[in-house]
């Protein structure tokens, strides 16, 4: 029985890497009259569905994709997050917030 796993891959610039987008966002905060916000980092989020027999198999696929394509390990880190698993026989089972987060 196969299951559809919905994942999010969150990619961010590594700590210490120049992030001009983050700096630009930070620089704009003054125009909004906002204070007390710092260390803004801008990355990207990719959501995708993997059809696999089990959670481990689905994660292995996403980890490979995240490490080889979605992020560049020289300059970025990523975090894989399982959002939802939908099996062909049972109904949707949304994850509790934060339950699937894993490095």
């Amino acid at each position: 029985m196969s299951t559809e796993f919905r994942f999010a891959v969150n990619v961010l610039p590594k700590a210490g890497i120049l992030d001009p987008q983050g700096r630009a966002v930070e620089g704009s905060l003054g125009h909004l009259g906002i204070e007390g916000v710092s260390a803004v980092r801008v990355g990207r989020r990719v959501e995708l569905t993997v059809t696999a027999d089990d959670d481990a198999g689905a994660r292995a696929t996403v980890e490979r994709l995240a490490g080889e394509l979605l992020s560049n390990p020289l300059i970025e880190t990523y975090r894989v997050e399982l959002l939802q698993a939908t099996s062909s026989t049972s109904s949707t089972s949304p994850m509790a917030p934060g339950a699937g987060g894993r490095r």
């Binding site: 120049l18 001009p20 394509l69 979605l70 560049n72 020289l74 300059i75």
Partner: protein, 246 residues
């Protein structure tokens, strides 16, 4: 017989014609290599031209890295074949791990299209041997992600091994600063404009020598680099290796 030099054409490449034109001016026979083909058609060197391969989606160069032609280029490079990446081609080589480092978003966040000056740091390399007398070379850049990055240890090793081929310099030839210096258009670390791999047969640079290859274009300072590549490829062809049959 003139030496055959391949120019890879990805969907979104836009300097392939400029590159084939400059190669022909330098006496080579340019051979266009479509991204979906695995054959390099027996060329003696490969140039990855500028442009926006696969729309630069995700990260500049990353999707091109997985194309059939790039698997062959990687094999060609591993056997000592001459490979040069210009601008987007440099980004593809970096994403493929064929040259060290990465190209980040320009420090000023803007896409830049204007002339810069670079100094040749390694005059005797296969990519620079005919660059001419040591002086700043003027040629255009046209990119949004050209800020060269590698960690400190890698940068030190590159400098110690003579693998920094080009640096951004001011008109007087002094090396540009990393930040707030118009002579360093993208904020590259240590003002690095081009590097090569450890074996010395794969190089990348952000500026466009092919677009500065005739006086008509405003500068022919880049033509010495094109001629260097053609002559080095011809020498490789004459040795019979590493020109691969596939």
């Amino acid at each position: 017989m003139s030496v055959r030099v391949g120019v890879v054409v990805f969907p979104g490449s836009n300097c392939d014609r400029d590159t084939t034109h400059a190669l022909a001016l330098a006496g080579a026979e340019p051979v266009e290599l479509w991204h979906e083909q695995a054959s390099l058609e027996g060329v003696a060197g490969v140039i990855l031209p500028g442009g926006f391969a696969y729309g630069d989606y995700l990260r500049a160069g990353v999707i091109a890295r997985f194309s059939p032609v790039m698997r062959s280029v990687a094999a060609f490079a591993a056997e000592g074949g001459l490979v040069l990446g210009i601008c987007n081609g440099f980004q593809v080589l970096a994403e493929a791990g064929l040259v060290p480092g990465a190209l980040l978003r320009n420090r000023g966040l803007r896409f830049l299209g204007r002339d810069v000056r670079i100094a040749v740091e390694v005059p005797g390399s296969p990519f620079t041997r005919l660059a001419g007398p040591r002086r700043p070379l003027r040629m255009p850049v046209a990119h949004g992600e050209g800020c060269y990055f590698a960690d400190e240890a890698t940068l030190d090793a590159l400098e110690a091994d003579g693998r920094v081929l080009f640096r951004y310099v001011r008109a007087d030839g002094s090396v540009a600063a990393e930040a707030d210096d118009p002579a360093n258009p993208n904020g590259s670390l240590r003002a690095i404009a081009g590097v090569r791999n450890e074996a010395g047969n794969v190089a990348g640079l952000m500026p466009h020598p092919e677009r500065a290859s005739e006086g008509l274009l405003g500068s022919d300072d880049g033509f010495g680099l094109v001629r260097s590549f053609v002559e080095s490829a011809a020498a490789a062809a004459a040795r019979g290796t590493p020109v691969l049959a596939r």
